[in-house]
């Protein structure tokens, strides 16, 4: 199988050797039942031990191996090799700084995540056991809590590409809504105050790349739409 993989090591020295490049690999590999991550590990094992990428759980739970394969953001560990057009082009997630090869700097992504205060804010005294929720209220959180913060959606969003420092991006906005929708949370107004901004929220133009690439099949655009609906309800 033929692979073309983005290589860049800012610490490798000066000049041409230090500029980002695409490197070709040819791997004798049976793609049957294998995922992109299996091939990356095989390349690192047998062809080039300097190839760097993140991975941990290798089954689509940890969200650490988000990469761009043939132009689409995916989790390498759950993307089948079969059916991919060769040479399979693997690049780091777009728009984030590259630390090395396929490893990107997620600082900006996490900063936006922190900004939406992704935790329950409830000033009532803590109950004996837990804060209870009706099954219907709990169901509101389905399709939101499953996000693993892999960054595939946010880095596929053109609005994030143009304003990465100001637009929160689909992942952070969906996590913002996850706590707005939580019946136990008491900071809805403050959360909406924070989001009501031409940049933070309203850079979303409903392009829906986020929905297309989400490896967990979630719908950040719908969550953003619900935030907008709540803002309208609040304003009228």
């Amino acid at each position: 199988m033929k692979f073309r993989i983005y290589r860049y090591d800012p610490e490798s020295g000066q000049g041409m050797a230090n500029s980002p490049r695409m490197q070709d690999y040819e791997l004798d590999y049976d793609p049957q039942g294998k995922k992109v991550l299996d091939a990356l590990i095989a390349i690192k094992d047998t062809l080039d031990e300097s190839l760097s990428f993140r991975r941990s759980c290798r089954e689509g739970v940890c969200g650490s191996d988000g990469v761009n394969v043939n132009g689409t953001n995916v989790l390498a560990c759950i993307t089948p090799l079969e059916g991919l057009k060769e040479p399979i082009e693997i690049r780091p997630l777009p728009r984030l700084g590259v630390i090395r090869d396929l490893i990107v700097d997620m600082a900006q992504f996490y900063q936006h995540y922190r900004a939406v205060k992704p935790y329950l804010i409830n000033l009532d005294p803590e109950p004996e056991n837990e804060r209870l929720q009706s099954p219907a209220d709990r169901a509101e959180l389905d399709g939101l809590w499953e996000c693993i913060l892999c960054g595939c959606c946010t880095t596929s969003c053109p609005s994030f590409w143009w304003n990465p420092d100001k637009f929160l991006g689909p992942a952070a906005l969906m996590q913002g809504y996850r706590f707005i929708a939580d019946s136990r949370d008491q900071a809805t107004d403050e959360r909406l105050d924070y989001l009501e901004d031409p940049y933070r929220l309203f850079r979303c133009h409903g392009i829906m790349n986020c929905v297309e690439v989400c490896p967990k099949g979630l719908n950040p655009t719908a969550a953003i739409g619900k935030i907008k609906t709540l803002l309208v309800k609040r304003a009228l």
Partner: protein, 117 residues
Amino acid sequence: MRRVGGAHRGLDMWLFQRASAVYMALFIPVFAVCALAVDTMDHETWRGLFAPVWMKVASLLFVVSLLSHAWIGLREIFIDYVHCARCVWPRLVLYFIFAVLYLGCLVWAIDILWSVQ
């Protein structure tokens, strides 16, 4: 001092852009029906379409919707793409140019519509 809340802007424009789209979506088929209902379309019947006051008002609202929809859309494009270290001035100048241009179009449209007797 740090500002912790949002700018509290954007919602009004976002909502207005949708409202203007709804009006245009309603007006265009209604106008198309009116225009297709006449037997022969010539300059006189075309002028006749705009003779009633309700059609003048409806058309003017359409122009207002179209221009505001377009201006808000342009504003979005400028925010998306006009980037620099000191962007406030270039952006303000762009907003201003297009606001003047579109307001000019609006006045012109009023003049045209109310010139029809």
